[in-house]
């Protein structure tokens, strides 16, 4: 399973970011979310929503084995094992692996909780099996 986003429907409201930070950190803080809303204004006038594809490249390069898979099949960060080396952030193709020492003592990423989907009024986000999606 993975998270999908149809950026053309995104209105930039960022509700997904707060819902995400509440799940990952139990904090209200859009800067601590595992998705990114990238606005393109005034031209061409649209939003780009970056989400984790669960490609696993972060797990492959993690030298401490901190990035593991959960019961939903999503890669997540085991906080106790992360030493903030930043290797994962460098390889993430979507720019949604976050290593910000001043904000968190461990790196963070999407663990597929689905809360972002629940608060998105525009149906931008959904979770599906990659095979289903391709079909």
């Amino acid at each position: 399973m993975r998270l999908y986003a149809d950026s053309s429907k995104c209105c930039g409201c960022s509700a997904c970011l707060v819902a995400c930070s509440l799940n990952l950190f139990e904090e209200n803080n859009p800067k601590k979310a595992a998705l990114r809303v990238v606005p393109h204004f005034p031209e061409p006038g649209n939003y780009e929503l970056k989400v984790c594809t669960q490609c696993g490249e972060c797990a492959q390069v993690c030298p401490t084995g901190a990035i593991q898979r959960n019961e939903r099949g999503a890669y997540f960060v085991d906080a106790a094992l992360c030493d903030l080396c930043g290797a994962c952030e460098t390889v993430c193709p979507e720019g949604v692996m976050f290593v910000v020492p001043e904000m968190s003592e461990h790196s963070w990423k999407c663990d597929l909780c689905g809360d972002c989907v629940l608060v998105c009024g525009m149906n931008v986000l959904w979770i599906a099996e990659p095979s289903t999606q391709a079909a």
Partner: protein, 609 residues
Amino acid sequence: MNGYGGSILRVNLTEGKITRLPTPADVIRDYIGGRGFGAYFLYHEVPAHADPLGPENKLIISTGPLSGLMIPGAGKCDFSTKSPLTGGYAGSSLGGLFTAEMKYAGIDSIILEGISPKPVYLFIDDRKAELRDASEYWGKGSITVERMFKEQLGEEFQVAVIGPGGENLVSYASINHDYGREAGRGGVGAVMGSKRLKAIVLHGTQSVQVADLAGYRQAGMALFKACKDSDGLKPWQDYGTTIVTSWCDEVGALPTRNFSAGSFEGGPTLYGPVMREQIVITDKGCFGCPSPCGKYSRMKRYGSTVEGPEYETIGMLGSNLGIADIQDVAQANLLCDELGIDTISAGSAIGWAMECFEKGILTLEDTGGLELRFGNVPAVFELLQAIAKRQGLGALLSQGVKAAAKQVGKGSEKFAIHVKGMEQSAYATHNATAMLLAYMTCDVGAHHNRSWAITYDLQVGRELVVPEKVARIIWLQDFRPMFDVFGTCRLQWVELGIDRELYVPALAAVTGVQRSWEELEMVGARIWNLNRMFWIRENEGFGREWDLPAPRFYEEAPKTGVTAGQITRLEDVHKLLDMYYEQRGWSSNGIPTPATLEKLGLAELAQTL
């Protein structure tokens, strides 16, 4: 301070001094936040009879306890000041992402005071706050400057900026944000310009604490679910506020040719579906909004883009000026945004000038050669520029219709469409007594958002002058602005029809204070009366006369459209006021009685009467 940023940032522009103090607990208790904070600080900090554009006036920018949280529409920011347009209270609401960023920088209110010796901007990055030289931005348009800041500082910074209109002290200059969101009304941009503050740029990364995390997450999710389950969601997402354009035209509420009628023969080419099909490219929401009314549009004919136009702009810069093309309206909207002037007041001022021209009150000599007839699009574009620069006829119109009509005279006061000096927004109120009363008694002047009652008029009988109608207006005035106190949008309740009781557990879980709607409406009434007392304090002889609508709505029935021949008699206008004052607990001249003030916890104000 659960739910709050926790501090008040005070910026003295005269001395260049910035201080940050804890948000006072008693102000939180009595006024909660947002618009409540604005009204409180304005009344208690600005000395009586301060010049709106002088150093003593303050501009107070406030978030609410729900701003920036996982609550639908948590993107509202209040801008309160003494208005240079009206001389009374101005409270203008800004959407977008500014309020959330402020909250995450740990700030509940920014209080701007004094006047800077040179143009500056306020830079805030979490705990850091400083005034910086703005000479490279001064003189430039608001959209241009926002782009410059984003390129220099990064997309994560949020920007509130004035355009040339604010710099040049146009009485209805706006403050602009997110390429098309505005604190538009009452001239808050002129106050910012008078302080020589070009912009506020801010970035916040601090987490916001809540009292009961699990309860808040549950209540927040319940609110989002209610929005997403609403039948009203899809149409509102498609059309936003423009969903009402066709309805207004059909019921005679669409301002047409300076409110001389309420139906426009060119209306159908301005309707929501036409706009969606012809120009809308992206839906654009404020923070946390599941039902974005913001529509981002591309005008192919002009090779430009704009956020909007919203219904109000379509009414005021479209039908009110006899313009029937949505691209023309959108381009006028873009000019207003870049110049930093309110589309509603600008549309009203130009509509008044067009009527003056067609009646021979203004001549080609006055207009600098402009054939200022209804429907003349190039003339509108030229006048908008002239207003922002305060040149030629634009200088006259930049003061607002009340002052302009007073200067020109010759009967033009009769069709200057305002209450208390604020131009009426885009609902024509011929024989629509509830909406008329809403405009007459609104605490900033003729604005619709406190009490939007035009649909109620149609439901119960538009001509009725009965106590129930008055009670409805008062209830809306006490209740709806509470969303501006929370720092959220009211439209999820208004347009999606979600149960307002869903906000009660959310507010309790966030702040740790349980308040019923009955108690919240009491806070609403307290703010309403405090603002009334501000008007009374600031204006000698303030009273009933100030609550009268434009004479057009009781003297001159429309000649065309569905409201042709319909009018509210002056006698009934006064009857509405009699009932309103009585139900509010005000004197027959519209002054709150000492008993009323005491009941609302404002006893100390009674001594000023």
